[in-house]
């Protein structure tokens, strides 16, 4: 299973890296968000770290690519004609779907590289994480957690034909609720418990605290806990929808 997951993530990552659309989303859009944040943070009255803005823009894009990709993942397999083969294989379907959503989140590696380079070259933002080792550990933890959230989204939106559009429209609310560029203290109190349930909150916290100082280990731990919880929920949803689709023989229907 581990070999399958690792190979699956690598294969999907290579496929996505060949896609102009996905690469544009992964490498260009974080620059848009980071640039806006740099200018606003610099001219605002509240002192905010520009390195923090880079990380926020990275996690925003990580979720954006994963959210849209995951919402569309099952539909895409159906369109390619591979959905029936995947479901019919002896491997649990969840083990085949999870690498796809994790690979989408892993495109965040490109986002991080482009954002840090952009910030360094154009805005002179130093890249000097306080805990370099933990920073390196935080990145895959964030990718895993966000990828598994994508898996949960994918498993719940199977029957919604315009899932990609819905996934797209949910970008901003999730960016807001997870405190990527906006401190959670500015948001209404009821948003905070919601943020605890969302992986980008912990992914961002892990990256932020390893980069700017603090103790990232609890956040890394929460990334793993939320990942496990998302996987369990996704397994339930996928099992249910797989049974429904088998009963109705609707796997190949677009």
């Amino acid at each position: 299973m581990i070999r399958l997951a690792a190979r699956g993530v690598l294969l999907q990552f290579k496929i996505l890296s060949q896609s102009a659309f996905d690469m544009l989303n992964a490498a260009f859009w974080p620059l848009v968000f980071a640039t806006i944040a740099y200018y606003l943070f610099r001219s605002g009255s509240h002192a905010r770290s520009l390195f923090d803005a880079s990380l926020g823009a990275t996690v925003m894009t990580m979720w954006a690519t994963c959210g849209i990709g995951a919402a569309f993942a099952v539909q895409w397999q159906r369109r390619l004609g591979t959905l029936e083969l995947l479901v019919a294989s002896p491997t649990p379907f969840i083990a085949l779907l999870a690498p796809i959503t994790i690979a989408y989140a892993a495109l965040g590696i490109y986002s991080l590289a482009s954002t840090l380079l952009w910030g360094r070259v154009l805005f002179g933002i130093p890249v000097d994480p306080v805990h370099p080792f933990l920073f390196v550990v935080s990145l895959p933890a964030a990718i895993l957690a966000i990828g598994m959230l994508g898996l949960l989204v994918s498993s719940t939106l199977i029957l919604y034909r315009a899932a990609g559009a819905l996934g797209n429209s949910l970008e901003y609310p999730i960016w807001l609720a997870t405190g990527l560029l906006v401190p959670l203290s500015l948001l209404p109190g009821w948003v905070r418990p919601i943020s605890w349930l969302l992986a980008p909150t912990w992914g961002m916290r892990a990256l932020r605290e390893s980069a700017l100082g603090g103790s990232p280990l609890p956040a890394i731990g929460w990334c793993l806990v939320t990942s496990a919880a998302y996987a369990a929920l996704a397994a339930v949803f996928l099992g249910h929808f797989e049974r429904l689709a088998r009963e109705k023989a609707s796997f190949a229907l677009t």
């Binding site: 797209n168 429209s169 906006v182």
Partner: protein, 261 residues
């Protein structure tokens, strides 16, 4: 008479057939909710940075939704002819090209105006921003001018759809650049001089500036120059866009690439 029929009936029919986001399951999340969420998000980013002007972000982002509706709209209503394999049939018809393609731009423009008005109204309600009633006329003119210039710019993407496979990627790229340089979220004066020069040649820049000044209490007359500039920018894009449509059609015929992917 036939020109008008192709323009109005053909334009509307093509728009309904080719603008794939008209499906309510797509339209509501992408054209209504997404702009509203965008406005709220950037208003909060502004609050977090200590800028504290929700009105600035409301107007900038609401007018920016016109670009999304018009750039992607025009890209789809012409470019999708290729995807649906109807491009050769369309271009072999004797109908006036101007009527064919301009007819598609009118619904695109109206959609941009509607989406912007919706975003402005709901955004002001959610953020509690007061938009003075006296500014309605000036705001409407700014929206109209931006819708015209963005639709004209969108004709470029439609024209590219006659040659390229996926103009959505390019529209996505340009949309991101406009979000940074056109004064949507970052005041123009904060940007480097050369970026301001580029921004002055892009749709939205003058219209957003005019809308902000009108809402701040300026008279329509005092923003007349900015509104005129927005229309002039649109006219330039329009003329070049029509030229591109013509050139790419000829090129597509010459290279027999109208059906190529």
């Amino acid at each position: 008479m036939n020109w008008l029929r192709v323009f109005f009936v053909g334009g509307l029919t093509s728009y309904r057939a080719l603008f794939r986001w008209l499906n309510p399951w797509v339209y509501v999340p992408l054209m209504l909710l997404y702009p509203l969420f965008q406005i709220v998000f950037f208003a909060y980013v502004g609050r977090g940075a200590g800028l504290g002007s929700d009105r600035f972000f409301l107007i900038g982002n609401a007018l920016a939704t016109i670009a999304v509706a018009c750039l992607f709209g025009m890209g789809q209503v012409i470019g999708n002819e290729r995807w649906f394999m109807t491009l050769p049939a369309l271009l072999s018809s004797p109908a006036s090209r101007l009527a064919l393609f301009l007819g598609r731009s009118l619904p695109t423009m109206l959609n941009g105006i509607f989406v912007c008005a919706f975003a402005l109204t709901t955004g002001s309600l959610v953020l509690g921003v007061d938009l003075p009633l006296g500014a309605a006329g000036g705001l409407a003119l700014a929206i109209l001018a931006c819708a015209f210039s963005c639709t004209a710019f969108g004709m470029w993407f439609g024209a590219l759809g006659l040659r390229g496979r996926n103009v959505g990627i390019l529209a996505n790229l340009i949309d991101g650049i406009m979000l940074v340089v056109c004064g949507v979220n970052v005041p123009l004066r904060d940007l480097p001089g050369w970026v301001q020069t580029v921004a002055n040649g892009l749709p939205l820049t003058h219209g957003i500036g005019a809308a902000r000044r009108v809402v701040a209490g300026a008279s329509v007359g005092s923003v007349g120059h900015a509104l005129t500039m927005e229309v002039v920018v649109g006219l330039v894009y329009f003329v070049v866009g029509v030229g591109l449509l013509h050139v790419f059609e000829l090129e597509g015929r010459r290279t027999a690439s109208l059906e190529a992917f």
